[in-house]
Each structure stands twice: as structure tokens, then as C-alpha cells.
């Protein structure tokens, strides 16, 4: 049966440490913006931890929410791309084909979660920062839109490994970088078509909600609400 990749985020467990952000950056060769460009809004973070403050001092509560590409089944970013750079794969992922992107940025505007990022310049890594570049992930050139892919390179590697060993994929075998690095195990990744997988179970949880659900984008990331 074909896979249908999804994620679950437990907002009770998330501590806002941003290990996921750092891991994602390293795994996916995300370019460095620097302080000046970041101040001008050019920083790229495929996964980001949103921080919301509620209440006044001293009764301030901080809420953390990791937001990454929701891989929507009715993605608003897909029909608007004039060159098919953004389209849906049969495993439910929203593919971003860098070679086909001409940089109209319509998809980035249409995405209600603001999870699509644009390369304002060519990536530059000062030595020795080019050493940890991941050879499994392409480096995007200037003028191309990029976003979270659920670490599709790891998905493909996992599938190939299982095929080579002539066995089925196990639940929890494939972990995107953010899932792997979360110290609180707040992020869970797996196959939604497998009813027994942890992510399927969590997506059916009574605490489960979807982000901006009323827009009808059918996102595949389930957020488990905080209990307190």
C-alpha cells in the first residue's frame, strides 16, 4: 500500500528549545542569512518555533508552536505555481522542484502558514561552514523557493533500505531531522496509511487539532493541544 506521510506535534512536550530548527538547517543545507539580512526578513527556517506570550507580567504564559510545511492535501500553493514546480506526490507530500521554479513567489504568498521561503541571493558558506553540507540534499540557487520536505531524502533512503533488505518499513524507522533531534520527543513522524503507527494514533487523539483548519487546506500535521 502506498504511504501517506504525516506528522504529529505534541504542544505539551515542546519546550521551545529549537533543536529541531538547528537540525533542519544542518540536514537540509539551509543558507545562512546573517544578522543584517535576517533583520530585513530574509532568514530561512523550514521549521520555526513560534512563540506567543499571553498575559501581563508576572502572569505571563509562553506558548511554543513548531510550524513546518503542513504538506496539505488541498494545498493552496500548488495550483498557483505556473510551472508545476509545486505539486503533490502520490505519497501525499507537497513537492517543490527547485529546477522548475522561476521564482514568481505566488506559492509563498498563497501559503497561509507562511512556510515557504525565497532565496534572495546565492548561498554563501564561509569556511569551515561548508564542511557539514549534506550531499543528499541539493543546494538551492538564487531566485528559487524552498520549504520543508519532511526530509524526503531520508524517506527515500529508508524506503530503499527496506527494499534492499526485502522487508516492510517499520514505524519510526524514518525520522526527519527535526523529529530525530527533539529531546522531548514532541515531534512524531510516520505513515498515516498505517493505522497502527504512532502518528496515526496521535492524529486520532481527542487533543488533536489542525492549524488553520477552517481554511480547508487539509494539512497533515496534527497538533496536540496543551492540557494546562
Amino acid at each position: 500500500m502506498t504511504h501517506r506521510w504525516g506528522m504529529a506535534v505534541d504542544l505539551d512536550r515542546c519546550t521551545g528549545c529549537e533543536a529541531c530548527v538547528t537540525a533542519c538547517r544542518t540536514e537540509n543545507n539551509i543558507r545562512i542569512a546573517g544578522p543584517e539580512q535576517s533583520a530585513r526578513g530574509r532568514a530561512i527556517a523550514w521549521i520555526r518555533v513560534e512563540r506567543y506570550y499571553e498575559g501581563d507580567f508576572p502572569d505571563v504564559r509562553v506558548k511554543f508552536r513548531p510550524v513546518m510545511c503542513q504538506q496539505c492535501d488541498a494545498a493552496p500553493c500548488e495550483p498557483v505555481c505556473p510551472t508545476y514546480a509545486s505539486h503533490h506526490t502520490d505519497e501525499g507530500l507537497n513537492a517543490q522542484v527547485y529546477n522548475r521554479c522561476i521564482g514568481t513567489r505566488y506559492c509563498a504568498n498563497a501559503c497561509p502558514y507562511s512556510v515557504r521561503f525565497f532565496n534572495f541571493g546565492n548561498p554563501v558558506w564561509d569556511r569551515p561552514l561548508e564542511l557539514p553540507l549534506n550531499p543528499d540534499v541539493s543546494v538551492r540557487e538564487v531566485g528559487v523557493v524552498e520549504k520543508c520536505t519532511f526530509c524526503v531524502q531520508r524517506i527515500n533512503a529508508g524506503k530503499e533500505q527496506a527494499k534492499a533488505e526485502n522487508r516492510e518499513l517499520q514505524d519510526g524507522e524514518i525520522k526527519p531531522a527535526c523529529v530525530q533531534s527533539c529531546p522531548a520527543s514532541a515531534l512524531v513522524f510516520g505513515d498515516l496509511n498505517d493505522a497502527e503507527s504512532e502518528v496515526s494514533r496521535l492524529s486520532r487523539s481527542s487533543r488533536g487539532t489542525k492549524l488553520l483548519e477552517d481554511l480547508g487546506t487539509l494539512p497533515k500535521v496534527t497538533y496536540l493541544q496543551r492540557q494546562f
Binding site: Q37, R40, G41, R42, A43, R48, E50, R51, Y52, V67, P76, P79, V80, C81, P82, T83, Y84, R100, C101, I102, G103, T104, R105, Y106, A108, N109, A110, P112, Y113, S114, F117, F118, N119, F120, G121, N122, E141, V142, G143, V144, V145, L212, L215, T217
Partner: protein, 452 residues
């Protein structure tokens, strides 16, 4: 019309082509420098990437798309005056048609540059063209940007042909009247036009068909441009009124641009006998109507938003009403409605000067309107963590200014090469003298056998 009047019309309207003052060369030089600076800015941007522009996460469209929508909007001038007024047999349109059609063609050309200028990888813009590639992959016809390509290509082709067809008899006139190397060029452009009965009939029939065809195309073009916005779920973009709103705004800004062009031409080329206050008054009345229509659409859209109280939309709404974009918003309302309304509604104020002031304000106001549709909504999208502020950078400002200079430059060059008032159409209308009051027209009617 007697021969003396015919000769006078020929002389007056060909004089700008025959005589060139030093001011013309200074104007061309000045505008040329600005345009070159704009081209240089764009080259700088292509070399360095869009980092040199002001766009950012999440405001990915700003000045360039504002300009795109603005210029495509201006291009609706020609369609309205040339095509619609032709279809309803409004004779006062005759001296004005070519001025308007020229605005359309050049505004479209300039507007169509902007989708290329704003691309991240502009050297690949041709992927929007449906051509058979090796990989057999085609553009996504579900995307409003692909619709833009088809619509603007069709409209550009249609308007250019709509401009060129009635130019053929005038090229024949130029072929006869000019001398030297220019005579040879006009002879080629005239295509051997003689003016036989058959040719006139076919030409008029073709113009009628083109007028009928170009009106729905023009409406569809700006509707499709509005679909670039309304087909996404961005707050205050996803509005069903955007199609008519944009078309009304386009016609509005188009008439304003036309009035400005006519006023300048009238002064610069001494066309006081051909462009009369009544032309400005009639266009002023149309402008007033469009101003009211614009105000109506704006009010309806904002009332619906405010009443609906959707939290994402209200964030954008307050940004424009009282927040960071409020100064621009209220300037726009003043420029588009509050000040033009008395200037255009009160007959004593609806003079050439009055309409020119109103039109200048409206051009500014409509540019602001495009900006205020695009930027506040992107700056204040659904997730508050992803909000951001936009500041334009010198590159964007320079390119914007350069397109205005390019428009004036192209227009000036055109008026130098081709009579800006359609000579044969003017003669058909019989308007060699000042336009008369209705009573005087009745007296004169049988003397002229003028076509109604």
C-alpha cells in the same frame, strides 16, 4: 468639408512631424537617461538577486506587482474610448481615439515587463509560454499567472492591431505628404493603400469587429490580473468583488491618464483647435462616474469585511484604516474621491485645468490603491508570528520612476513619427472648427452632411 479645410487639417496635424524644436531633443535625452538608469537598476538586480530589493518574508510581492497591475490598468483607456465609444457612435471620440489607443499599447508593453522583472530567475520566463519542450512539460494552466500570459498576449496583440489598422490610411497620407527617407518608410507602412470604396468598407467592418472583440478581452485581462490575488486565501485578497473592482479601477485610471496625455499634447503640439474643452468635459463626466463607481466598490468591500469580523481579515483591515498603512489609505481616498468629486461634478470647475488636476491626483491615488491591496494583506497574513513590514529600496523606486519615463518617452517618439490625432477619422466627423452648441449644430447639419 471643402478642400481648404482639408488642407488645413493636414497641415496642422502633420506639423509636429515636420518641425522639431530643441525642447523635443532635450526631453528625449532627459527621459532616455532616466530609462537607462532604470535598465541599469534592473541589471544590478538580476546580477545580485532580489536581495537588493525591499521584498522579504512574508511580503513577497510589492512595488513590481503594484506597477504591473497599475500599468495594465492604465491600458484600459484605449479600449474604453476607442472601442466602446465607437460602438455607441459617440462622435466626440474622433480626435481622441489614437491618443487613447497609443496609451493602451505602450502601457501594456510596460506592464507586461513587470512579471519578468519581479521573477527570481527572470532568464527562465519563457517557461510560461506553452511551447513543446523536450521534456514535454507545459505551463500549469490552472495558475492565474498562466492565465495572465494568455490574457495579456491576446490583449497586446488585439490593441496593437486595433491601433495599426486605422493607421493605414494615415500612413498613406504621410506617404504622399512627406519627402525623402521618411517617405519610403511610410510607403512601406501604408501597404499600398489607395482608399477605394472596397478598402474603406472592409477597413470599417474590420474596425467594428475589433471593437466588439477588444472590449471583452480588456474586461477579461484585468479580471484575470485580479485573479492573481483572489485565487489565494490571503486575508482581504480572497474577495469575490475583485474582478469588477479591478476593471472599474482600470477604466478609472485609464481615463485619468488619457486626460493627462491629451492636455499635454494640446499644449505641446498646439492642438487647441482639435482638442476642445468639450472633450475634457465629456471625459471628466466619465471620470466622475468611475470615481463614484470606485468609491462604491471600495465601500462595499470594506463594509463586508468589517461586518464579517473575520479575525485575519480584520487585522489587515485595521492596518489600513488606522494602522501603519493608514496615511497611505487616506491619501488614496482623498486623491481618488474626495478632491476629484467636486472638481468633476461642478460644471464651472470641470475645465481643462480642473480635469487635469483631478486626473493627476487620480493617477497617484490609483497607484496607491494597487499598493494597498497588495502589501498590507501580505504583511498581515494568518499567523501573527509571520507578520512583517515592507520598505521599498532604491532599486524598486528607480525602476518605477523609469517606467513612467519610458511611457512618456515612447509616447513622445510616437507623436513625432505618426499624427497623434487620427486624420481620416477626424475628417469623417467634420470637426475642423470649434465644436458647436446643439443649436448651432442643427443649423450647420445640412451644410456639412456630417455623419452622425
Amino acid at each position: 468639408m471643402d478642400l481648404a479645410t482639408e488642407r488645413k487639417i493636414n497641415e496642422d496635424l502633420l506639423r509636429p512631424l515636420r518641425q522639431t524644436s530643441v525642447w523635443f531633443f532635450l526631453l528625449i535625452a532627459g527621459l532616455g537617461i532616466i530609462v537607462l538608469a532604470g535598465v541599469g537598476s534592473w541589471m544590478y538586480q538580476v546580477w545580485n538577486g532580489l536581495a537588493v530589493a525591499g521584498i522579504r518574508w512574508p511580503v513577497f510581492w510589492a512595488f513590481y506587482i503594484t506597477n504591473f497591475v497599475f500599468w495594465i490598468g492604465i491600458s484600459h483607456a484605449g479600449t474604453l474610448i476607442s472601442a466602446i465609444l465607437r460602438l455607441v457612435n459617440a462622435t466626440w471620440r474622433r480626435p481622441v481615439t489614437r491618443c487613447a489607443e497609443v496609451i493602451t499599447v505602450f502601457a501594456l508593453m510596460i506592464g507586461a515587463m513587470f512579471p519578468i522583472i519581479h521573477l527570481g530567475r527572470p532568464w527562465l520566463f519563457f517557461w510560461l509560454i506553452p511551447y513543446p519542450s523536450e521534456r514535454q512539460i507545459w505551463p500549469n494552466l490552472r495558475s492565474p499567472l498562466a492565465w495572465d500570459f494568455f490574457a495579456i498576449s491576446t490583449y497586446l496583440t488585439g490593441s496593437t492591431l486595433f491601433l495599426l489598422l486605422p493607421l493605414i490610411p494615415d500612413f498613406a497620407l504621410l506617404r504622399d505628404q512627406m519627402r525623402g527617407w521618411r517617405k519610403r518608410i511610410y510607403a512601406v507602412l501604408a501597404l499600398g493603400w489607395q482608399g477605394t470604396t472596397k478598402q474603406w468598407h472592409r477597413l470599417e467592418a474590420a474596425m467594428q469587429i475589433m471593437a466588439i472583440a477588444i472590449v471583452p478581452v480588456a474586461v477579461s485581462v484585468h479580471t484575470i490580473v485580479s485573479f492573481d490575488f483572489s485565487m489565494s486565501s490571503v486575508p482581504m485578497w480572497h474577495s469575490t468583488v475583485f474582478g469588477p473592482y479591478f476593471v472599474a479601477g482600470a477604466i478609472f485610471s485609464g481615463i485619468a491618464a488619457l486626460i493627462l496625455a491629451m492636455a499635454v499634447l494640446r499644449k505641446a503640439l498646439h492642438l487647441e483647435e482639435y482638442l476642445h474643452p468639450v472633450h475634457f468635459q465629456n471625459l471628466g463626466k466619465l471620470l466622475l462616474m468611475m470615481s463614484l463607481l470606485w468609491g462604491y466598490f471600495t465601500f462595499a468591500e470594506r463594509l463586508t469585511t468589517w461586518y464579517g469580523n473575520n479575525s485575519a481579515e480584520m487585522a489587515v483591515f485595521w492596518e489600513t484604516q488606522t494602522g501603519a498603512y493608514a496615511p497611505l489609505f487616506w491619501t488614496m481616498v482623498f486623491c481618488n474621491f474626495v478632491i476629484p468629486f467636486p472638481l468633476l461634478a461642478i460644471r464651472r470647475l470641470r475645465t481643462i485645468t480642473g480635469t487635469v488636476i483631478a486626473s493627476s491626483l487620480i493617477v497617484v491615488g490609483m497607484w496607491l490603491e494597487r499598493f494597498l491591496i497588495i502589501v498590507p494583506s501580505l504583511a498581515t497574513k494568518h499567523l501573527p508570528y509571520a507578520w512583517g513590514a515592507y520598505r521599498p529600496q532604491p532599486v524598486e523606486i528607480m525602476i518605477t520612476v523609469a517606467t513612467f519615463a519610458a511611457m512618456v518617452l515612447l509616447y513622445a517618439l510616437f507623436a513625432k513619427a505618426v499624427p497623434i490625432i487620427s486624420i481620416w477619422e477626424l475628417k469623417v466627423g467634420g470637426h475642423a472648427q470649434p465644436v458647436l452648441t446643439p443649436e448651432e449644430q442643427e443649423e450647420q447639419r445640412e451644410l456639412w452632411k456630417a455623419r452622425p
